[in-house]
Every structure is written in C-alpha cells, then in structure tokens.
Amino acid sequence: MDGGNIFLTLLQKIAPAGVPSWVLVLSACLVGIGILVGLVSVLVMFAVWLERKVSGHIQCRFGPMYAGGWHGWAQSLADGIKLLAKEDLIPLGADAALFVLAPAIMLAAIFGAMAAMPLAPSVYFANLNLGLFAILAMSSMTTIGVVMAGWASNSKWALYGAMREAAQVVAYEIPLGISLLVPLMVIGTLNLGEASARQAGWFGMHWVLFQNPFVLPASILFFTASLAETKRAPFDLPESESELVAGFMTEYSGIRWSFFFLEEYAAMFLMSVVGAVFFLGGFESPFTHIARESFGSDSVAYQVVAGGTLMTKAMFGVFLMMWIRWTLPRVRIDQVMSMGYKYLTPLALLCVLGAGIWEAIFPGATP
C-alpha cells in the first residue's frame, strides 16, 4: 500500500505541469477535509433518522413518517434547516469565547480522529501507521470541549453535567485502551487498513474474534467502554440527566446544539468502525474475497464492496448502541465510576494477561 493520499495521487495525475507541489498537497488536504466533513454530515443525518426510527419501533410507534414521503427520510434534513434558521443565543454571563469554542473543539477532535479511518482499502485520508493510537488520542480531546461547554454556560446544572462527563470519560479511557490491546496482540498492527488486510479469508474465520478465546470478553468490554466514551445510555448522565435538563448542552440552541449531536453520532460511528476493524474483520467478508478474486485489487468494484462491508459492520455497531439506549435505564454516576474502575479495568487487564499467554502458547497465523 502506498504511503500517499489518494487525493494527492489523483491531483498529481490531473494537475498541469508547473504547479508547485505544496499547492497540490494543500489542495489534496482541503479536498480530503471537504469530503470527510460532507461524508460525516450525511452519515450523521442518516444516523439521526435511524435512531428515531429504531427508537420508534422499539416503543411501539413509527417514528418519522411524513418529511420527504417514504418513512420520513428527509426528517434530519428538515431538522437541520430548522436549526440553521434559529437564533444564535449566547446566555448573559456566559464566557462567549469558550461558549463558541467548545463545540468547535469537539468537532475538530472527532474529525481529526476520523482522518485515520479508511473508507475503502485504497481510499483513505491519512494512512497512519499509528492509526488506532491517533484515533484514541484525538477522540479523547472531546472531553475538553465538554468541560468548556459546561463551564462557559454559566449554569450550575451544565457544570454538573460537565464534571460528570469529565470523570466518566477519563475513567473509561482505561478499559477502552486496555481492551484494545487484546486484538492488537493478535493482529500486530495499529494501522487500520493493514489490520483489515490481515484478516482476509473465506467466511470470516480469520477475523480477530475467532483467533483467541480472550477476544470475545475483550470485545464486550470494548463495547461497554465505547458506550461510556460516547456518552450513550446507559451511561448518558452528562447529557440526559443533570436533573433532566440537557446537562452540559442546556444553554446551547440552534446549530451549536446540533454540533454536539454531530460529534456524538460521529463518535459512535468511529467507535463502531474501530470495533469492526479490530474485532470483526474490517473490509473482509466473503463478498470482498469474491470481489478481489474476480475483479482484482485495483478495481473500483472491489473498493466499493470492501467499503460497503465496513459500512455495514459499522452500522450494525451503531444499531446495537441505539438498541441498548432504548432498552436500559441510566446508571448513576458513582455506580458508573465504580463499575469502570473496580470491574471493567481489572477484567480488561485479565483479558490482556490471558490473551498474551494464549498467544505465547499458540502463536497465531498473523506475523
């Protein structure tokens, strides 16, 4: 796999001769950013619609049905337009600079993390060899945004929400990271594209999930920790509770408020992609194998099928998160903390220990 960026490669092919290379690199970055932002926005709109449909059907009702005709597919679009048209409110006494900066920081962090995420085997924004590490590092910067939002809102309830969020996210970073060590031991690389490639094979038997008995508990721990990281129920104290006003988002309205939701669904999607790549085989499925055999690794069909496989797995993860949200009640903050520190972290460490011993005794097929 080449170390460059597909957009750069394309631009180099189509650019006229005299253009200096820094212009090409800059344009490639801008194009990449534009595509990333556009893609994530569309994805988030779809995820919001999906959430409303899923929640509706779980609750014996339909969810959106009117906007756009067929099952209200344009509902998120309509909501987005409405939110754009709303008054931009900054509460009196709020720290205006921090207030405005907080959603921006959260979005910047999550988009930065998504840069390491590949869309298809040859379509990526940055082929980082430290892909997973970059994702974890960048996505944990969203906490800064939350605490800023809570503090800058000049509201006691927002402050409570922000404090809880900070405590919760920091607590669950640990089992998140540790539980990811287990598939890393099996697969041996932090690069998302490479990790996918090493799980190639028929019928998913090379998926990390089936290589080591300690991967299954690690995947459950990872899923739980990712629920806490993305502030989804049953760990959604920071946003839903704080006495049932909207937590750290209380004072936000209009498009700024939708930035928080953009960040939340983007983070959900990101965690699902990480889970799909490192536990469930990433791009690999019987269909990709067939596509690769029939059409070859360079063909567009192969890229589409591989990308589609990853999307499906990620969307399944997102659906699972939504399903759990609408089924379980909320856990109280001290119970969340004690669960994170006293139960999940030791379990994650045990999984790492066990996986390591297993790998030493039965070295896997992966290098």
Partner: protein, 402 residues
C-alpha cells in the same frame, strides 16, 4: 456556615486527636455549598414544584419544597358554587385519577344525606371506574418514574394501555381526563352497550402486558440499583408524617382503606377475598426504599384488575342514579370521608348549613403530605438520587396545591 479565614490556624491547631492517641492533620479546605434550584419547570412530569436544594458537590445538605404554583383556590370556590356545580373542580386536583376525586366528593356529600339509597349498579360502575382509573394513574407513575431513571421505553408501553383506558372512559362519559362522571347519588349515565365486554377484554390484555412491565423495568438490575436503599422511609417516620397509600405500604405498614375501613362494595369483596393488599417487604434492599414503593404500585395494578373482574361478574342491569332532587339542598352537618386514592387517602371534609351552597369544602390531598416528607428525606442523598426519591413519591401538583 461560618468559615474561618484560611491560614489563621497553625498546623498544630488544625490537628485532630484520634481515639488511638494519634494526631491527624488536615488541610483547611473549604468547599462552599452550591444552592441549586430544582425549578418549577423540569421535564419530570410531576407538575410545577420548586425545590431549593443546597448541595455540597453531589450530596444534598438541605432541601426546601416551594409550592403554590398551581393553587387554584378550589376550597374557596367550593363555598361559592352549588353542590353539583363543584364536581368539575374536583376532577382537577388529582387530574390523573379524576374518577377517584369525584368519588370522594360525592361520598362526602352523600354522608350528609343519610336517607339516600344508591342503586347497586351505581356502586358497581363506580368501583369499576375508580379501579380502572387507579390502574391508569399507576401506569403513569410507573412510566414517568422509568423516564426519570432513564428508561425511555416502558413509558410508551404504559401509555399504550392508558390510551385504551381513556378510550373506555370516553365511551362512558365523553371525557378522557377530567370526567365529572361519578355524581352525588350515583353515576351520570349508564354504560353504553358493549362497554362491559370491552372492559373484560382490557383486563385480559392488561394481564399479559403487566408481566412485560415487571420484567422490563421493575426487575431490571440497573433500575434496582438506582432505587433500592434509596429514600428509605422507616415505618415510624411514615406514620408521623401522615403518609398514606403506597408511600405507607411501601414502608411495611399493612393498611389499605379499601380493606380496613371499607366503603362502597369493598366490604362485600372482603368476604369473597377478592383482592390482596400489596405491602412492601424490603425484597431488594431496605424496607421502605423507592423500590418498595414502585413494587407496591405496580403490583397493585393487578389487584385492581381482580376487583374489576369481581364487579364484572356480579353486575346487574338497573338504575344508576339515586333519587336526588334537581335543586340540591343538603341538610346541615359536617362529614369527613376519606377514600383510597392511588396516591393515598383523599379526604373531603364537607360542612353544610342546609343551603344550596357548601359552607366549607376542605380537600385533604395525599400529595400534600407526601411532598412534606421530602424536606427530611432529601438531605444526605445524592442529586441523582433526589430524582429517584421525588419520582417515587408520585406527587401530582394539582393535588398538592388544589
């Protein structure tokens, strides 16, 4: 609390002597209590109540409920309108269980007319409506409590059943929420044909759905963890504060007005052992915690179904309104009648001096006393527990403020 200026004490002075003789040094750290306003508007559908809370971090150190946002002078109005005209006002205090309010007022006024005979069918329909409304009220209590705790789905399931109940009431009296149906002397009009069969079908379907509620929320491990050992009201405290209904039974006191001081048809039901009284047993934690109260309410719904079935088996055709004159003059006297509302004992004290208009209509709303216990229950709890405790008191502010 008076705070000493920082740094005024030497380190020696700041040390404490422990029982073992050691000295423990502590830094002069002061955290001030945060005064938060659990304001009149909050999404938990209890109504407009304001609780001023003082919290040290997450622990509440003081709580003061402020009421009166929904005070509509019902008692003053009772002295200015005629006896029958007052009935719609009774609907509106505990608007989630309006049939029971109508029943309480009607029974209090009927107590002042000792010669009045109510036809049996009136009693039957009154009981069916009151018990169905009890189920409806407990469904809301259970659904909105789930919503407070964070479980969004049981709320919708509960409302699915409640919609059917409200449709039943719409068929019988035309209204979905405030019925004015149970009148002085009986009920307003007879049930339309097919209504009783539909009530029977409702009971059958409800029994299956009830099992879902128990599995989904009441026995859910996270819900239990949020509500067990939280907001414990010991038995003496419950009696001292004048709590009644599920608040009292959740604390282990086996008392239900329907069984122990029976009115209407409940005396007959006792002979047939038609229903049990659900008392909290401290199954999932301390006796008298929020879980016990929720358990009482949810299981009481099944007992109400049993009562409704008992009535359906024995109801006969007949008149539904007793013989009362068009212009009602109630003989002089005073009467207090307390009935078992879903929230506790709803008492009406009615005083008459022989005229068309009452001298005094005093409404003893159970939520009023239930809210007073919050002053002593909230301090010491976490803020997240405050929601659980307030939800478990199942207050309806219409009844608190009248």
């Amino acid at each position: 609390m008076a705070a000493e200026p920082q740094g005024s004490m030497t380190l020696e002075e700041q040390a404490r002597v422990l029982p073992s003789g050691e000295r423990e040094f502590f830094l002069d750290v002061h955290t001030t209590d945060l005064e938060v306003n659990f304001g009149p508007q909050h999404p938990a559908t209890h109504g407009v109540m304001r609780i001023l809370m003082r919290a040290d971090g997450e622990v509440i150190t003081g709580a003061q409920p402020h009421l009166g946002y929904l005070h509509r002078c019902a008692e003053k109005i009772g002295e200015n309108v005629e006896w029958l005209q007052y009935l719609p006002y009774t609907d509106r205090y505990d608007y989630l269980a309006a049939m029971n309010n109508n029943l309480g007022y009607s029974m209090a006024v009927e107590a002042l007319m000792p010669g009045l005979e109510l036809p049996r069918r009136a009693h039957m329909i009154r009981t069916i409506c009151a018990e169905l409304n009890r189920i409806g009220s407990h469904l809301i209590a259970f659904g909105t409590y789930g919503l407070d705790i964070g479980a969004f789905t049981p709320f919708f399931y509960a409302f699915r059943e409640r919609e059917w109940m409200m449709a039943l009431f719409e068929k019988i009296c035309g209204a979905r929420l405030t019925y004015s149906y149970i009148r002085i002397g009986g009920v307003f009009n007879d049930a339309p044909p097919g209504w009783l069969e539909e009530v029977g079908r409702f009971c059958d379907v409800f029994e299956e759905k009830w099992k879902e509620y128990v599995d989904l929320l009441v026995m859910n491990q996270i819900f239990v963890k949020r509500t067990a050992d939280v907001g414990v009201i010991p038995k003496e405290m419950a009696l001292d504060f004048g709590l009644t209904g599920p608040m009292l039974r959740g604390s282990g006191v086996d008392f239900d007005l329907r069984r122990d001081m029976p009115y209407s048809l409940y005396g007959e039901m006792l002979k047939d052992n038609a229903f049990d009284v659900i008392v909290g047993k401290g199954e999932k934690g301390t006796l008298g915690d929020c879980w016990d109260r929720t358990y009482c309410r949810v299981y009481e719904m099944m007992e109400s179904i049993k009562i409704v079935r008992w009535c359906l088996e024995r109801i006969e055709p007949g008149p539904v309104l007793g013989d009362i004159p068009k212009v009602l003059r109630i003989p002089p006297g005073e009467a207090y009648v307390g009935i078992e509302n879903p929230r506790g004992e709803l008492g009406h004290y009615v005083a008459s001096d022989g005229g068309k208009v009452a001298t005094r209509v005093r409404v003893r709303g159970p939520s009023f006393t239930n809210v007073s216990v919050l002053e002593d229950l909230l301090p010491g709890a976490l803020i997240a527990d405050a929601i659980a405790i307030i939800g478990s008191t199942d207050v309806v502010i219409g009844e608190t403020d009248r």
